[in-house]
């Protein structure tokens, strides 16, 4: 690397840190949406770097669907302890119990859509005016057009056709009462960048990302992890395979990949060779051509 040139990972890191500091400056009650997945773990890492030696000046918010990998919760609690960050948990089970939303039924039942209500309630309860999310533009085509600072109206809705222009590195976080922002510091990162950065910075990630033996079954061409609350058809046979997670979300719609990748180097090689996007196994995106755009308009992550 020539003198006074930053590598792509350092430039992305610097951009994300700039965004986080901008959020801490422009908003009164920011929060970081923490899912337990690698992107939100990288977000926490960047937040630590952005404000060091002070603690992260905003809480982590975890929307708990109740359908988690057990490892996710332990990892979350350890991370909170290590960074001294404050944790807020929003429970989808409580939203269901309150009667605000009804649980989906059937084999493909998922709490993925229901969590939008829990998320909006939690943000409102804690007066969150800027929610930092780990969304990336390379994930999905509706996300390719989302701003770093994405404005939400008083109902939490996104209006994709009426987004604020965003130029240079000037970010307009001004808003009226009741409105809030979703902010995406990792907008310009790709899946490969995230993995290379985890490797470069030796960031701890849950073991779920590495190969392990797990009881799984096949549905619509994708492998899903078995769990007590997973409803299976008679034809869906549970087998034990060597798998790893490429993304970590709610168990009901997170596919697992057959893999023997045991180290970060292995994972990076695997990503480089793979021909399917990481959301390719996400059942929630397959519902329609604009499934993501429709969910986002209503206030989804």
């Amino acid at each position: 690397m020539k003198k006074y040139n930053l590598s792509h990972l350092r430039e992305l890191e610097s951009e994300s840190i700039f965004i986080m500091r901008e959020v801490a400056s422009q908003f009164e009650h920011p929060a970081l949406l923490f899912s337990g997945g690698k992107d939100s773990i990288v977000m926490v890492h960047l937040a630590v770097k952005a404000f060091w030696p002070a603690k992260i000046p905003f809480p982590l918010v975890h929307i708990d669907t109740g359908h988690n990998f057990a490892e996710t919760i332990k990892f979350r609690d350890d991370l909170v302890k290590e960074t001294g960050a404050r944790l807020i948990v929003g429970s989808v089970q409580e939203t269901i119990d309150s009667g605000k939303v009804a649980e989906e039924t059937g084999f493909d039942a998922s709490r993925n859509l229901l969590q939008t209500q829990t998320l909006l309630d939690t943000l409102e309860e804690h007066k969150v005016d800027a929610a930092l999310g780990g969304g990336r533009r390379d994930e999905e085509k509706a996300r390719a057009k989302e701003r770093f600072f994405s404005h939400r109206d008083e109902f939490g809705q996104w209006d994709p056709k009426n987004q604020r222009p965003e130029l240079w590195n000037i970010f307009n976080g001004k808003k009226n009462m009741g409105e809030h922002f979703r902010v995406f510091p990792l907008s310009n990162w790709t899946e490969m960048d995230v993995w290379q950065y985890i490797y470069l910075e030796s960031i701890k990630i849950p073991n779920l990302y590495f190969t392990h033996e797990r009881a799984v079954f096949k549905r619509d061409g994708a492998w899903l992890a078995d769990a007590p609350f997973m409803k299976k058809r008679d034809t869906e046979e549970v087998v034990v395979k060597n798998v790893r997670c490429r993304t970590i979300g709610d168990i009901t719609n997170t596919g697992v990949t057959l893999s023997t990748a045991n180290t970060l180097e292995d994972i990076i090689q695997e990503i480089a060779a793979t021909r399917v996007t990481e959301r390719g196994d996400r059942a929630d995106d397959k519902r329609s051509e604009s499934a993501m755009e429709d969910r986002k308009k209503e206030g989804y992550f």
């Binding site: 006074y4 040139n5 930053l6 590598s7 792509h8 990972l9 350092r10 430039e11 610097s14 951009e15 840190i17 700039f18 500091r21 400056s25 630590v48 770097k49 952005a50 404000f51 060091w52 030696p53 002070a54 603690k55 533009r137 390379d138 085509k141 509706a142 996300r143 390719a144 057009k145 994709p160 056709k161 987004q163 604020r164 222009p165 965003e166 130029l167 240079w168 590195n169 000037i170 307009n172 001004k174 808003k175 310009n188 790709t190 960048d193 290379q196 970060l264 180097e265 990076i268 090689q269 990503i271 480089a272 793979t274 021909r275 399917v276 996007t277 390719g280 051509e289 604009s290 755009e293």
Partner: protein, 426 residues
């Protein structure tokens, strides 16, 4: 990508290049982007399948690669690109971010947005039509936004029998126009996005062309000097005060270097107070750095305890920016509600937040001809004009030509909070 060791140092240490494209439905822009992505294996099977399904549903005969880039439902339904879409791909040499924008005059504001962060602009010319109004518009906007490098892609060469004469005459036509632009570096490449000529692979169809392929140019163009490394500017973004036992006296000024190089021990001046002090340390997480340069985000600690807050700027005593409440900008208007002279707006510049009043419109620019026009006191959406502003507090700025960070600003409507105008300081 080739199958190399992606965790090796070379892959962790790639350069990032941001380029913009602009174009309308028929000029082959989507095909070109589709091909760059496809040939660098950045389109995945499930994405391709989704596009195939959608193409069949629509009754298209072949795969419509535009469906890959047109992300919003309204765009797919109307078959147009209405916003800026960001695309990503990497080759073994570099990582690329494409800002893909529509090309029609009614989307000037989107082109301006896409151009604002680009190092390189790809200008597409249809070999059959030669230089058109759209070519002028894209080139002017690229030049106004100070994109340092232009790559002129003469596309659809297959439809003019790969004729050297056609290519040379377009090149000549463009260079005579380009003398009016403020662009340092212009390259030309004859291509066929559809057939793949000179995109990633060299072609036998144009033996008369000795230059590199488009991808080769993108991989090798020198972008390291695109940042200003001469005039040190550090807009203070956030003050870090841990107030913990361990770091009781720590007071750091967090921000992103906007220009020049700062070194530990440098004598610096703080604006607006004018106090002089020196840099005690440059912190980045647990490291202490000897120097910092754009676009690094760091934390500066100073030897003296001064009252410094967000919006102040740390500079070198012997190299200060302009300090004034009166400034002229080239303003591009972004909103349906026209700009009004005499009206007050909010204004954001670096990390500073002030109010401003529009004093006068000096002249407007016809983005198709670059001619100056004089037609009244309002500036409508997608129009560009030289405008005089007066701010409530002094700004610390450089000309946009000298520094894209300290020379740019945005104007915000105080009723809607929407960003309505963007300005490049003259």
């Amino acid at each position: 990508m080739d199958n190399k060791d992606f965790s090796s140092k070379a892959y962790l240490d790639m350069e990032l290049l941001r380029f913009s494209t602009a174009g309308s439905v028929d000029d082959g822009k989507s095909t070109l982007i589709g091909r760059l992505l496809y040939d660098s294996k950045s389109i995945f099977e499930d994405q391709l399948e989704a596009v195939q399904r959608a193409s069949i549903q629509r009754g298209n005969e072949s795969i419509d690669l535009a469906l890959l880039t047109d992300g919003l439902r309204a765009e797919r339904e109307q078959g147009i690109t209405i916003d800026v879409a960001y695309r990503y791909f990497a080759t073994p040499k570099r990582k690329f971010i494409i800002a893909d924008t529509p090309g029609h005059v009614q989307y000037t504001r989107n082109m301006v947005t896409g151009a604002s962060t680009a190092n390189v602009a790809l200008i597409l010319i249809d070999a059959r039509n030669g230089v058109t109004e759209q070519t002028y518009r894209h080139s002017y906007i690229s030049s106004l936004l100070q994109i340092p490098h232009l790559i002129i892609c003469v596309n659809k060469m297959d439809l003019v029998d790969y004729s050297e004469e056609v290519y040379e005459s377009i090149k000549e036509q463009f260079s005579s126009f380009a003398s009016k632009l403020a662009v340092k570096d212009i390259r030309y490449v004859p291509i066929s996005a559809l057939k793949g000529d000179n995109i990633v692979e060299t072609t036998n169809n144009m033996p008369w062309y000795q230059g590199g392929t488009l991808r080769y140019i993108l991989e090798n163009i020198h972008v390291g000097s695109d940042y200003n490394h001469i005039d040190p500017r550090f807009p203070v973004q956030y003050v870090i005060r841990p107030q913990s036992d361990e770091y009781h006296d720590y007071r750091g000024y967090a921000g992103r270097i906007a220009g020049g190089v700062f070194r530990k021990g440098d004598k610096v001046m703080v604006l607006p107070s004018g106090f002089e002090t020196s840099i005690k340390s440059i912190d980045f997480h647990k490291e202490e750095l000897n120097e910092a340069y754009p676009p690094m985000s760091v934390t500066l600690r100073l030897t003296d305890d001064l009252d410094i807050s967000r919006g102040d700027m740390i500079v070198k005593s012997n190299n200060v920016p302009q300090v004034s409440q009166d400034l002229d900008v080239m303003m591009c208007w972004m909103n349906e509600q026209p700009m009004q002279t005499g009206k007050k707006y909010s204004l954001m510049h670096t990390t500073k937040d002030v109010r401003c009043m529009v004093k006068e419109i000096k002249y407007k620019v016809d983005v198709n001809t670059l001619n100056r026009i004089d037609d009244g006191a309002t500036l409508k959406m997608n129009e560009i004009a030289r405008v005089s502003l007066r701010t409530t507090k002094p700004l610390f700025f450089d000309s946009y030509r000298k520094n894209r960070q300290t020379g740019s600003l945005i104007v915000i409507d105080e009723a809607t909070n929407n960003t309505v105008g963007v300005g490049m300081i003259v």
